[in-house]
Subunit: 206 residues, 2 copies
């Protein structure tokens, strides 16, 4: 859903620099193998600065997750577009080409999501973020309903399927080639056209 | 997609007993914290037996993954049912109630899937298993097309969306309550009815 390089392009302070180093160390070594020392290898300044800001590795990784999820939330485009364009934008973002930096970001998110199985704090952060995305999508569908673009009886249900597909694609980016992800995109677009668009909009479209 | 308790109910040899202990240790401690000693805590026999069968922890976890994926593959129901019933069965399995043992299984799969980011062997196993599931679903859709139950131009594309939803729901089972997963199920059923069923089947259905 986002670009790992652009993600840290506006790195502006020590916290962001530490988080960027942590992100790269996480991508390189994985959650199970990451250490403060390995994070230090990606950090231009003294490793002691890391300890000045964070008590330990867990504390730091949790802050990274919070930062990444805030970034994801801020990328949900603003509703100044038409609901139809907004929807196309979301679909393009979900399925955007898995170039290297994108795949890196998805891998890091997947590693951190796996921690929700054993860590209440991770679970709460992901729950909050998932709920945010679902609500935004339901809002767009409701707006589209009002404007006669969509005709969806249960916007919350449609938003729940969107969220599942977002999570699924993120988890598949480490194993699947673009052929499969591209196939999912075409089929999901078919679902949007046939199950969300109003009949008038569908006729205009064809 | 499967039940963690039933999964090991037919435990029949030392390998299976070790794998069952590993599964429970993985569920309890997570991938990052698991050790042979913690696996030993779940194993009734001598810990040295584990070393007799496996070189190290990684070797053992990889065998567990292979065993779990084979189990998943064997659960894809046989095509003796009608394509329509088969499809309902798949949907029920994807979204079955996340009771404790189910959630445990999904958590373990998610932890192992996260390793695909850094481990080629895990990646290959998941790729093979995902491809197997996709092919099975495409096959059922093609059979349904031939029988006039479904009318799907691109069965492979529909199967790709199924696979994404399967992976998404597995990854969501650690963070989402049954309300959200239930909403996704209703919407996905709506997709199947409107985008896969043939028009005659849809009319019979309503």
């Amino acid at each position: 859903m986002t670009n790992g390089t652009h993600f840290f392009s506006k790195t502006s302070g020590t916290r962001e620099e530490i988080l960027e180093s942590t992100f790269h160390a996480l991508c390189e070594h994985g959650y199970a193998e990451i250490t403060i020392s390995k994070i230090g290898d990606h950090f231009d300044k003294s490793q002691s600065l890391i300890y000045h800001h964070y008590e330990n590795k867990d504390d730091l990784l949790l802050d990274l997750l919070e930062y990444m999820l805030e970034e994801l939330e801020s990328q949900v485009p603003l509703s100044t577009q038409s609901p139809r364009d907004y929807m196309s934008g979301i679909i393009d973002e979900i399925f955007e080409d898995t170039d290297d930096s994108n795949a890196q970001f998805s891998k890091a998110v997947l590693e951190l999501r796996a921690q929700t199985a054993h860590n209440e704090e991770y679970r709460e952060l992901f729950k909050r973020s998932d709920e945010f995305v679902r609500k935004q999508i339901a809002l767009v569908i409701r707006e589209g309903n009002e404007q006669g673009v969509f005709n969806v009886e249960q916007p919350k249900q449609a938003a729940a399927l969107f969220q599942t597909v977002i999570v699924g694609i993120q988890a598949q980016q480490t194993t699947d080639d673009m052929d499969n992800i591209g196939s999912t995109k075409v089929e999901f677009q078919r679902y949007v056209d046939q199950c969300l668009l109003s009949s008038t909009e569908r006729e205009n479209h064809i």
